[in-house]
Assembly symmetry: C2
Homo-oligomer: 420 residues x 2
Amino acid sequence: MFTQIQFPSRSEYASICERPALEQGTLDTLIADVFTQVKKSGDQALRDLTISFEKREITDILYTTEEINLKSAQTDPTLQKAIDQAYANIYAFHEAQKLVTTKIEINPGVFCWQKATGIDKVGIYIPGGTAPLFSTVLMLAIPARIAGCLEVVLCTPAVHPAIFYAAKICGITKMAKIGGSQAVAALSLGTESIPAVYKIFGPGNQYVTAAKMYANRLGTAIDMPAGPSELAVYADSTAIPAYIASDLLSQAEHGIDSQVILVSTSAEIISETIIEITSQLISLPRKEMAEKALANSKFVLVANEKDAIDLLNEYAAEHLILACDKAEDFADEIRNAGSIFLGNYTPESAGDYASGTNHTLPTNGFARAYSGVNLDSFTKKITLQSISKQGLEQLGNTIIDMAEAESLQAHANAVKIRLN
Amino acid sequence: MFTQIQFPSRSEYASICERPALEQGTLDTLIADVFTQVKKSGDQALRDLTISFEKREITDILYTTEEINLKSAQTDPTLQKAIDQAYANIYAFHEAQKLVTTKIEINPGVFCWQKATGIDKVGIYIPGGTAPLFSTVLMLAIPARIAGCLEVVLCTPAVHPAIFYAAKICGITKMAKIGGSQAVAALSLGTESIPAVYKIFGPGNQYVTAAKMYANRLGTAIDMPAGPSELAVYADSTAIPAYIASDLLSQAEHGIDSQVILVSTSAEIISETIIEITSQLISLPRKEMAEKALANSKFVLVANEKDAIDLLNEYAAEHLILACDKAEDFADEIRNAGSIFLGNYTPESAGDYASGTNHTLPTNGFARAYSGVNLDSFTKKITLQSISKQGLEQLGNTIIDMAEAESLQAHANAVKIRLN
């Protein structure tokens, strides 16, 4: 069941880092049709498509405040308390990311600065399915609120009370009962009930992902390209196999396409971890799913720390656990990862739920170029500048010389006319 | 030639803010073919396509350091000095954007932080064409350098010495002679001479833009969707019509599809600006281009400042000049814009070249959801967390309760096994 690789050469790194190929565009006709229907018939299309795709009848597209309050109140009080602590931590970590506007006097009389403004209208998609992802409501709606987004529209077919509880405490402005690609189409195009938003966030199945890519081509921004979730663990001889096994399993239970990789300098740690996985697996409710995911897993023995760093940087994991001595020094060498978990007492599930960091992260190697969702994701940074007459006098010749060399005379004239 | 609109109602704002429809996907077959050829034949495909598209023969794909030095040295010394000042200002403004890593103790023993890491490999595309955009080399290569990108590959068919001078002082690591969609394909896929990069930046014609969108679908990140350049000016009665006219013309000379809009509370300012445009236009070398662009321009008289703010926020201009009293207060109300220029002595061309801000900005209304290029564009923000046993004890129940409510038992187990 476990693929073990020993002392791979550099030329083998690429194949170790390979993810399963993602389908490209095979759903495009179906998605284009959904968008056409939603554009043409708005809310009615959403009702029709929900019956046709989900066999679910809806009359009103949006939940009323009363409905949200009622559902929310059904959340188990212990769970409410847990969500409240997670909310506080996620809020604190994302609020600390706020841009502090500093005016810089670049030259005498030339002031430049940035300000961050929330994206006016954003949409959040939360799938139905086996796991009611109220934690993802927190991860997306809290930074939206801190950013100052004016309209935060949540679309979800999920009905777990905690989804409503999270939506309520996060100040969601509209909550719609719809799911699937039709929800993404509605957020992108707008209907009578659902405002068109400028950016769409959130996980989903292949239809939702394809619809987000389609919306993106139409001009709606999206959080990031999506792929199956993944975890890499680096373990040296100080690691604890039972803990590593529990982390690998927590990733594997997400779905059969989850990616799991263990890189270690210790053959003993690898073999003990495999034994631990086998024994912990037995009692898991999502055992079969995890088992299938583990069939894609890789256990890689490397000669030294340097090789581990190079391989992990090439892999660019969504989640990276460093179960090793001097984990912070090791982390300094990591250039590509979504989120890094240091030491033996920092399981990935801490960041999935409650430590404060975001769990919406780049998969499939996208961590080489993309950040995970953070406060930036919900804002635009606008640059501003204010120049005095004296400032322009100092800068004027530079602008004129460069504009004229680029054959843009009117650009030069805009300075000349002000200084003459 | 000038479209004048007086006191539009709110329902007319959407049509005022409309941009010309961008072509969607009509070039896809051609672009797909270019990518197929580059994937199959690498450097040889680049040679063949450069002959076929540009009638230009190239042997080596890359410039040597000696070639770059030689070409660079041909740059006019006055222009070198101008570029040096621009370099220093752009460097200073972007360096100030560096993330200051701050560890936050979210709960006792629970530490979370972010670090910014440069994207390892980035590509910059600079078009040939009428204007040799060495300024864009500065705007993209300086933040790449500050971010710590390891490989910065510049592709350009342009041969103006200042392009080489800019490439040299910015520390470009590789410079290739190729242009067009084949350059984008090479950056996305890699060839013998050109490394595959993780993110592609830079302007270009419809072929380059379509190739960037295509590369993006293959998994290469891009700076932002591109459209024709645009300028909105807000002017109250304190504005100076000759200055406004010079700014509108500096935008209009970019190309026949440039977008220009003047919003004012003063009918007099509008009519005087139109007179000024007509008189300044005569002597421009790119007069015909500017004239055609001005045919799409709009001059909008609004009843009051509030209407101007609402209209400008709906328009979401790439460049926004505020030629008005209390420009900073006005700017505080602007939620959507790429870059804002305050007061009578801050022409757009200052930001285009030398004040320090970036000139690669969101067009076509994308400023509603996208920032312009800044230091963030060249980095990923990685989150890190380190939790002590005591920290996990405090956070443990919250994680367990949430994971179990989401039916993710292995997530809960990863905590339980550490605390038992």
